[in-house]
Structures are given as C-alpha cells and as structure tokens.
Subunit: 233 residues, 2 copies
DNA sequence: AGTCACTTCCCCCGAAATAGCGAGGAAGCG
DNA sequence: CGCTTCCTCGCTATTTCGGGGGAAGTGACT
C-alpha cells in the first residue's frame, strides 16, 4: 500500500493516476475503485475502473445532483457505507437501477475529500458481495482508504490548470471585511455602519472586489469569495 | 498509533480529545500537538498542548487572520512545513516573535482539513530542533499525521451542536435551482429566463429559500446555501 | 379525503443596489 | 523619491430587490 501511495506522489499525468487506480483496485481486491472530483469552477474529472459507458451516462444525465452518495458526502465528513443511505424517492431509485445495470455493484464505500476553493472529490470502492463480508472489509481497510482518498486528491489538485495562478488572487483587508459582512446578511448600510465608513466608500470596496473576482453582482462576488476561501465567515 | 486513533473514534467529550492530544504528542515525541477548528458559523474551538496564555492571546489578537500557517493552509490541500512559508511583512514578523516568546517552537508541520459547510481545521505538530532532524521526522510520519488530522476532525464534527439536526434542512428542487443560478451571478431576470418561469414565480422561490435558511436577503441566502452544501455550483 | 408542500402566475411601491463619472490622502516598496 | 495600492469621500440616474397583498393547479402522504 505504501508503495502505491508513494507512486501516487510521483505521478505526473492523468494516465498514471488511471493506472494506479487499477493497481489499487487489485490491491484491495474489489470490483471497482473510482476517484472523481469537481473543481471549484464546476469542471468534473475522474479516474477509475467504472465502465466508461456508465461514466458518460452519469455526466449526461447530471446524476451528480441525484446520486445520494454525492448528496450525502457533500454534507458530511465521515466516509459513508452506501447501505446507510436513504435510497427512497423516484429519481433516486431510477438512478440506482441504472447504476446496477452498469455493473457498479451492490456494496460501496465512499470517502469525501475537500480541497481549497470549494474543490470537492469523492473516492469510492464498490463491490458485489454480502453485507457481512463488506462490513468486515471496510473495518479492516478504513484507514488505508482514507489515506488513499487523500493522496489521490493531493495529486489531482496539482493537475488542475488554474490552481497555481489562482494563488495570486487577493482581496484587500477592507474588501475582505465587506465580503464577510455581506455574507453574514448585512445590508450595505449595515456594513458601512459596522466598518464605520460611508456607504459610498463601502461601495468602492464591493465594486473593487467584484472586478477582482470577475463577478457579475454582489451576490456573485460573495459566492466566489466563499468558494475560493477568501473570506472566513 | 492505531490504538490512539481507535481511542479517538470512541471519545465522547472535549476533555478526552484533550487527553488524546497529549498522548499523541508523546507518541510523536514533539513539543506540541494542536488541533484547532473553525465551524461554518465562525466559532473557534481547539485542543492541544500550547500554553493557554498563547491560545488566549491568539484569539484576543485575532491572529487567525495574520498567521501565515492558517492563511496558507486555507488555500492549499497539501500539509505545510512552516519553513516553506513566507514570513515577510511587519504584522507577520510581530506575530512570529510573539509565538516564539510563548514557546511554540521553531519547527512546525500543519495539516489542513476541511469539512462540510465551510468547516475548516488545522492539525499542527511543532517542535524545537534543526531543519534536518525535522525534515526526517516529517518524512517518516507524514501519513500518520494526515490520518491523525482526519480522525481529530471526524470527532470534532460530532461535538458540534447544530451539525446533526441540520441534516433536516432541505430546499425544494426549484429553490436549489434558484440559489444555484444566483450563486453563479445571474440576476433574477436571467434566472427566471433560464428556468423558463416568470420573475414573479422566481421571487417566490427566493423568498421561500430565504425563510427556510433564516437569511436576511438574497446574498445571505446564497451564502448560507453554499456554506451548508445545499447547492453544488 | 383532506392536508401539506411544491409550483406557477399576477398586482403595487418604496427601498436598496448598481453603474458611470469624479478626487484627495496615507502607507508600503523598490 | 516616485510608484502603486489602499482607504476615504462625493454626485446622479437607472435597475433591481424586498415585502405586502393575492390565487390556482399539481402531487404526495396520511
């Protein structure tokens, strides 16, 4: 396992990630192993051993917004065993049947991982077996699966194009103040009052932040500030 | 190490976390080990082996917004060795001197961890030794430190009061659509157009979402939707 | 069979935010 | 000592948003 993690640290392109995902699948002895991530700007990438037809269908149908695994992982920190999830609801059952038909497997374990700037990824192993066997497998491999998720994400972030230049993004202290209070629900007048400056001045900061962030309006600017981790509310 | 991680999984209060942080410090053989987290709503908590006077001073001075370790970790995924950071700038040097005076140590290694709803935590080990010794220590213990950070955060999230009941929060599909497009910078008119509904209808969704989220205005509602992971932009 | 949540549409009007100009002073960096 | 960035304040017009009323159809769950 350590050898695989060290190989992951050395990987230099997506093809290597793909190869390592297959190698890791064999190491764990499961049907599938998938690492899938969404950048802060919405692009999706992934590598793993799912049927390419299933991956295409997943993207095409925008299953990301239905998949209970994703929905659940997006709101929790703990890794999740698929059996714990709520699979009720018509669209969800349709999705589940579709997944089964594409050989995803009846058991699964997914680790959510979060990076800066709203980056979010999931690392999944799935398999076909009975509940008891699966439970034992998870208990024995939980720590290694968490580490694997971490190392996959670490490498994936290096591959994202607009990650390094993004570091240049910077808001001035006053701009941060403005965005922070706006994110807390203050009106412009309230923010200006809180910061003890005129509302006109405040507007300059908001405008300035908007331009820096390439945002269309204040709401957008606040949303981007949050997503990019520029403000700590 | 595994014994400590398993004890972490069983911990039931902050005092146990504190005890385990001391036990883990002894395991690693470092001067200090600290886990510090900021909830999505801005409260700060922590446990670890720093001098309480330093912790108090850190909070009082709002060093969170100056500390280059925090600032850097907030924008990256990789753990960071303090030596890699940029310690220039007057406020930063003042902070650094202040930290030294409180016995923090000249070497440090910090792992950032992110949870849902904008939760953010750092796990730090610090020590006083030469660069070479420290580098070797980090190389040997990197994986265990990452796992430790993960397990600390896993437990910390359980202690947060409004974390579990929050799962009840739910936006309707249309409300999610509205919040999503607003977060993308669309104006009300554009969102209404995109969803092919009248702007009046859209307003009903925004109002509805605002009330559910307890938000003061649209910007606040979008900010909360993002923080709580209710929308995936 | 009734309640409840969701979706869709309409009216009005005052308050708030946005967009386009402008300028001067303080602080930090090379 | 300039240069840049940041902070501060001003004006006006237009657009957007917020809050207050309504009403009606669908589906789900009880």
């Amino acid at each position: 396992m350590i050898a695989i993690l060290e190989a992951l640290e050395q990987a230099s392109d997506l093809a290597e990630l793909q190869a390592l995902s297959e190698r890791m699948r064999d190491y764990f002895g499961v049907d599938h192993l998938v690492y899938h991530w969404v950048s802060g700007t919405g692009e999706q990438y992934g590598c793993g051993t799912y049927d390419p037809a299933w991956v295409a269908r997943y993207l095409e149908k925008d299953y990301l917004r239905i998949d209970p695994v994703v929905q659940s992982c997006y709101q929790r920190f703990h890794p999740v065993d698929w059996k714990q999830l709520n699979w009720s609801g018509k669209p969800v059952r349709d999705f589940q049947r579709d997944a089964m038909d594409h050989g995803v497997g009846n058991q699964g374990f997914t680790v959510p991982v979060r990076g800066p700037s709203g980056q979010f990824a999931i690392f999944t192993v799935s398999h076909s077996c009975d509940d008891c066997t699966w439970h034992a497998f998870i208990e024995n491999n939980r720590r290694e699966l968490i580490l694997a998720a971490h190392y996959f994400n670490q490498k994936a972030l290096e591959f994202e194009p607009d990650r390094a230049p993004d570091a240049a993004m910077h808001l001035s202290p006053r701009e941060v103040d403005a965005m922070t209070f706006l994110a807390m629900g203050y009106s412009r007048a309230q923010v200006a009052d809180t910061l003890s400056i005129s509302e006109h001045t405040l507007r300059v900061y908001i405008e300035s932040a908007r331009h820096k962030l390439g945002a269309a309006n204040t709401t957008h600017a606040v949303a981007r500030s949050l997503q990019q981790g520029l403000i700590i509310v």
